[in-house]
């Protein structure tokens, strides 16, 4: 139903009063913008009234048009003026205390053990290694026998094993993954096997009954001990820096022959000798060696055709070296004050 011109003009006057009331109480640029939209926006009051022009007779239109334009002008002037005032006394360039800390979305922390594990995986992946995994619940066969550790052999004393019902055990190392991988594939093989391991050790600052290992295995034609040295040297330098040195010492593992323990130059003193490395300049990492012919026998590889090397690595130990953490139990306590340091 069309409205009479008088009614519209009355309403317009009321709106003008309303606007005056609003503009006096505006105290921020955003409130000012809201007011602008309410009156001059695409669906604003003034715009809506301009639409009414079409409902009036041609005689009445100029009057309303004039009033509307005047009203629109007033609004624009008032908005400009208040905008200027707001800017000059406060507003955009006014005083504000900027010393409270900035705010952000806190993302979660990653246990440093996982960080180091991820880093180790990235390094070996970049060197062309694949990643294999295996079960934590193992059989005697995979954990010992196929690794050339027969029952009734004193080498079993080297690892205190947790046994489970039904003849199962908790793997004492990630080496069973070597066997599982070789069983299902033919050389060349170039893998790492990260995972959780278990040994019947009472927890203290350097021992944990649950720990993580990264096993490595390379099998191909012409693989030598020199390649083992090169691989672990490359790893040490990628993880700890270009000054790292690696030392290999003869040792004994039933699944490697020759066997070697390997040490990294001490990260605490750069190999100069300190309390941590007992003045030797070296920190013991873990065991390694050339895959024993007996192990190839179990998986049906021809020892005359292929040779290979394997190594183990304790992730906790590496993480402790990297972040200079003094107690292995920190990894498993998950104290927020520990986690938020990494």
């Amino acid at each position: 139903m069309a409205q009479s011109l008088n009614n519209i003009l009355k309403k317009l006057a009321a709106l003008e009063e309303e606007f005056k009331g609003h503009i006096q109480s505006v105290d921020s640029l955003s409130a000012l913008e809201e007011l602008r939209i309410k009156f001059l926006g695409r669906k604003g009051v003034v715009t809506e009234h301009f639409k009414l022009l079409g409902t009036l007779s041609p005689k009445e239109r100029p009057k309303l048009g004039e009033d509307l334009n005047r009203f629109k002008g007033k609004i624009q002037d008032a908005l400009e003026q208040v905008k200027g005032t707001l800017k000059s006394k406060g507003g955009e360039d006014g005083y504000i205390d900027l010393t409270p800390p900035g705010t952000y979305q806190q993302i979660g922390f990653k246990n440093p053990l996982i960080q180091v594990l991820d880093e180790v995986k990235e390094i070996f992946t970049s060197m062309g290694f694949g990643i294999e995994t295996g079960p934590e619940v193992e059989t005697e066969y995979y954990n010992f026998e196929a690794l050339n550790v027969p029952a009734d052999h004193p080498a079993r004393d080297l690892q205190d094993t947790f046994y489970l019902p039904g003849g199962y055990l908790l793997r004492t190392h990630t080496s069973p993954v070597q066997i599982r991988t070789m069983e299902k594939r033919t050389p060349p093989i170039r893998i790492i096997a990260p995972g959780r391991c278990f040994r019947n050790d009472t927890p203290d600052a350097t021992h944990s009954p649950i720990f993580h290992q990264v096993e490595g295995l390379v099998v191909d034609k012409g693989i030598s001990f020199a390649h083992l040295k090169g691989t672990l040297l490359a790893f040490a330098r990628k993880l700890f820096g270009e000054n790292m040195r690696v030392r290999f010492r003869p040792s004994f593992y039933p699944f490697t022959e020759p066997s070697a323990d390997y040490d990294f130059s001490c990260v605490f003193c750069n190999g100069n000798g300190c309390r941590v490395c007992k003045n030797t300049g070296w920190l013991e990492i873990s065991g390694s060696g050339m895959v024993d012919p007996a192990v190839f026998g179990y998986v049906g590889y021809d020892y005359e055709t292929y040779t290979g090397f394997a190594w183990g690595m304790g992730v906790e130990r590496i993480a402790m070296m990297k972040y200079k953490i003094d107690d292995i139990r920190h990894f498993y306590d998950n104290d927020l004050r520990f986690l938020n340091q990494f």
Partner: protein, 793 residues
């Protein structure tokens, strides 16, 4: 194996300093685990001679002695019963500090001034013997420092012997390694044995019934021994090796074992019935008392050394109480045998006895070293206990074990080690280790392996020997590699990382918790599954494998709550375990817990407490990030979760649960604030993850948004409302967002208000207000009709 620097040096002339020796041994594979200086401290103790001895005028039990030290004479008051004129003795002069910390002063003893002290072994810290003074050899020059008489300062070393090297469980074996590296001869003590009297066959008959378990048994008879405490030098050696001194006869058997690696046993001959030794397996269930006075129940595998009537020792493991050498022993039967390593190992495990002897036999003693050790011990017993060694010896050795012959190909060694090894090196290295080169044809060596190296049975073992002495340090590091560029990407690994990153971005911290729990904790989350208990746990607290990741996560929560960290969000991925029939089943899970404030409180924002919608959101976000589009939440509860819990299904397979932990369960874990959780099947999530992402056009035309707030009965679910809106939203309703839920006075009881923002757009044109209004009317009409909803004013 505990040894000393000087002890090693007595078998080979090396020039290494102690520090260099430690490094040398370590680089040979004999890792020195610790070294320590000898605690001896008697700088002011010198050798003197007693030249006069008179009874103290004022004390019956004291002597006043004149002791000559070089050119000086000292008057010293002494209470030792054994002091005698002409003895060479250890004199502690004024100012000397003894092992006990006592400092010797010039003092008056009952009116006679004493200018020092004549020392006993105990006072010098050499042994426990304190009843008389130490009497030294006659040929020592007066005034010599005692420390020099004892061979100078010594260094104790503890060497880790790997299980493959039984030969290095004897000091001579370690010395052989050093000699090989230093290219010096090994000095084996020469046997100087004086046999006398009747032949041994007149004293004992020996037979072996189980030659597979005891391939060799040798023995000697020593008569008329005088069993007494050992001299200090012998006690010193035993103590350096961590053994306790018993008496001179037993100590000699132990000493020769430490020297050669061959365990020996001495029987009191007069306690052996019928003068027979029969080596045979035990009767099952038979009981036997070992010399430590413990009773053992035997099985049919236990190999016993028996006399004519009964067992007198567990072969290779421990002697019997019934034939032990004591102070009263007059005649000795000395045994040096070779036992089968596997059988020793089994018996030792079965009986729970591990001894110096069993440790060596189970690793493999040299079967052809038995006689040398036997003779060496017989000689020392004769020297120290004054016995007479009967002529001859018994040697029952039905099938002599011969040295192995192996071929070593130089080419193979070079391939395995990865460097050129001159043939001359092999000719030099192997013989030094006792590996005899029988012949060489080109690069092929025929090698005879001595029986003291049971670890060398294959060519690879020989190559290890070459590499070890050649030096691992001399092998270059070869960092060239041939890699297969077609190595497939590890999807599971990528997936794990993706999950990890998504949850970390949601503010959850990634933790690592123990897989072992106490049974009670595990039981709280077992939900009717049978938990897996360890056969041999360390403790009750670490006795059961986790059936769920939740108890471990809750323990991490508790640890932090106890340390005033109240706002926690943790997740973990890992294996959980349960029994299925007789099998142990392992499954991978992804779980999280959240408690306290939903976000970090700041001066700008005071976040609400975590609730079910937060953990539900973690899961939904994770699913969406894994490009999974359809899933169902179904109301759920269980023994550890309240009714504020949902089960989540994908294509009718249960992915997991998300909800709230029951307060009764939290109480048992000492947690006093609400904890929300989710636990998902990691492998199912991996399987359902959709790796394929396909582009859909980015809208070119502006969207139209409409907000509506409706009031309806509070029993109507938001899920049903949303479904209804979507059903009537038409082709252009692209997004529906519930942005407010209100329950309260303004709308009356039993009602709630839901506010939605609807976004419409077309990919082909700009929508008109009229079109959208029409669609909104349809939606509202349906909501009114279906749910009796009304628009909120």
């Amino acid at each position: 194996m505990k040894v000393t620097y000087n002890w090693l040096k007595s078998y080979t002339d090396f020039t290494f300093t102690p520090a260099a020796l430690v490094n040398t041994l370590t680089m040979l594979g004999l890792e020195v685990e610790s070294i320590a200086d000898q605690a001896w401290d008697f700088d002011g103790v010198v050798v003197g001679e007693v030249i006069r001895k008179e009874r103290h005028w004022n004390a019956d039990h004291l002597w006043v002695c004149d002791v000559k030290i070089g050119r000086r004479n000292l008057t010293i008051v002494c209470g030792a019963p054994n002091v005698a004129v002409g003895q060479k003795v250890a004199v502690a002069q004024e100012g000397t500090r003894l092992a006990s910390g006592r400092v010797i002063e010039r003092t008056s003893i009952r009116g006679v001034v004493s200018n020092g002290m004549l020392c006993s072994e105990a006072e010098l810290g050499l042994s426990d013997r304190g009843e008389g003074i130490l009497v030294l050899n006659d040929d020592i020059k007066l005034g010599t420092k005692l420390i020099d008489v004892l061979g100078g300062r010594d260094i104790y070393m503890d060497i880790f012997i790997t299980p493959n090297r039984p030969d290095c469980l004897g000091v001579m074996g370690i010395a052989r390694e050093i000699a090989a590296l230093a290219d010096r001869p090994l000095k084996r003590p020469k046997i100087r044995l004086k046999e006398q009297g009747r032949r041994i066959s007149g004293f004992i008959k020996i037979s072996i019934k189980n030659p597979d378990k005891c391939p060799r048994y040798t023995a000697r008879f020593i008569g008329n021994v005088n069993v007494q405490p050992s001299p200090w030098w012998l006690i010193q050696k035993l103590e350096a090796a961590g053994l306790r001194s018993i008496n001179n006869v037993v100590d000699v058997t132990n000493y020769v074992m430490l020297e050669t690696g061959q365990p020996l046993h001495a029987f009191d001959y007069d306690l052996l019935k019928r003068k027979q030794i029969v080596v045979k397996t035990a009767k099952p269930g038979e009981e036997f008392t070992t010399l430590d006075n413990r009773i053992h129940k035997l099985n049919a595998e236990c190999l016993m050394i028996c006399d004519g009537e009964r067992p007198v020792a567990i072969g290779g493991i421990m002697g019997g109480f019934n034939s032990e050498v004591s102070e009263n022993t007059k005649n000795i039967l000395l045994e040096s045998a070779y036992f089968n390593p596997v059988n020793i190992r089994r018996t030792s495990k079965y009986l729970g006895i591990s001894t110096e002897s069993s440790r060596r036999f189970e690793r493999g003693v040299d079967p052809n070293g038995a006689l040398y050790a036997l003779d060496r011990a017989a000689q020392l017993i004769a020297e120290l206990a004054g016995g007479k060694v009967a002529s001859g010896f018994v040697d029952v050795y039905p099938k002599p074990i011969k040295p192995l012959k192996l071929t070593l190909r130089l080419q193979r060694a070079e391939l395995l080690v990865g460097t050129k090894i001159p043939a001359s090196q092999i000719r030099s290295i192997l013989p030094r280790l006792g590996l005899q080169i029988l012949s060489q044809k080109g690069g092929n060596f025929k090698i005879e392996v001595p029986t003291f190296r049971p670890d060398i049975t294959r060519e690879a073992d020989l190559i290890e020997e070459v590499a070890r002495v050649f030096g691992f340090d001399n092998v270059p590091a070869d960092s060239a590699a041939v890699i297969d560029l077609l190595t497939p990407a590890n999807r599971l690994e990528q997936f794990s990382r993706h999950v990890q990153d998504t949850l970390l971005a949601n503010g959850l911290s990634q933790v690592v918790t123990y897989s072992l729990l106490n049974k009670k904790e595990a039981g709280l989350f077992a939900e009717g599954r049978r938990v897996v208990e360890l056969v041999n746990p360390i403790s009750a607290d670490l006795s059961t494998l986790r059936p769920s990741l939740l108890p471990g996560l809750l323990k991490a929560v508790k640890w932090n709550l106890n340390r005033s960290n109240p706002d926690l969000k943790f997740f973990e991925t890992g294996a959980v375990f349960e029994m299925s029939g007789k099998k142990v089943v392992e499954n991978r899970k992804l779980a999280a817990v959240a408690t306290g404030a939903a976000a970090t409180p700041t001066w700008k924002v005071r976040p609400a407490a975590v609730d079910i919608y937060d953990v539900k959101g973690f899961v939904e976000h994770l699913l969406r990030r894994n490009n999974i589009t359809r899933w169902n939440f179904i109301p759920f509860s269980c023994s550890y979760a309240t009714t504020k819990t949902l089960s989540i299904e994908i294509e009718n397979r249960k992915l997991g649960t998300v909800g709230e932990i029951r307060s009764e369960v939290l109480e048992q874990l000492d947690i006093e604030q609400p904890v929300f959780f989710f636990e998902l099947d990691f492998d199912l999530l991996y399987q359902k993850t959709n790796w394929q992402r396909t582009f859909s056009a980015v809208p070119k035309f502006p969207p139209v948004t409409r907000d509506i707030a409706i009031v309806l009965k509070d029993t109507v679910t938001a899920e049903n409302v949303a479904a209804d809106i979507k059903r009537h939203g038409g082709a252009y309703l692209q997004n529906l967002n519930l942005f407010d839920v209100y329950i309260g006075k303004q709308i009356g009881s039993d009602h709630k208000s839901l506010a939605y923002r609807l976004t419409f757009y077309s990919t082909e044109r700009t929508l008109t207000d009229e079109e959208v209004d029409t669609q909104m009317k349809l939606i509202l009409d349906s909501l009114r009709n279906t749910f009796a909803a009304r628009l909120r004013e």
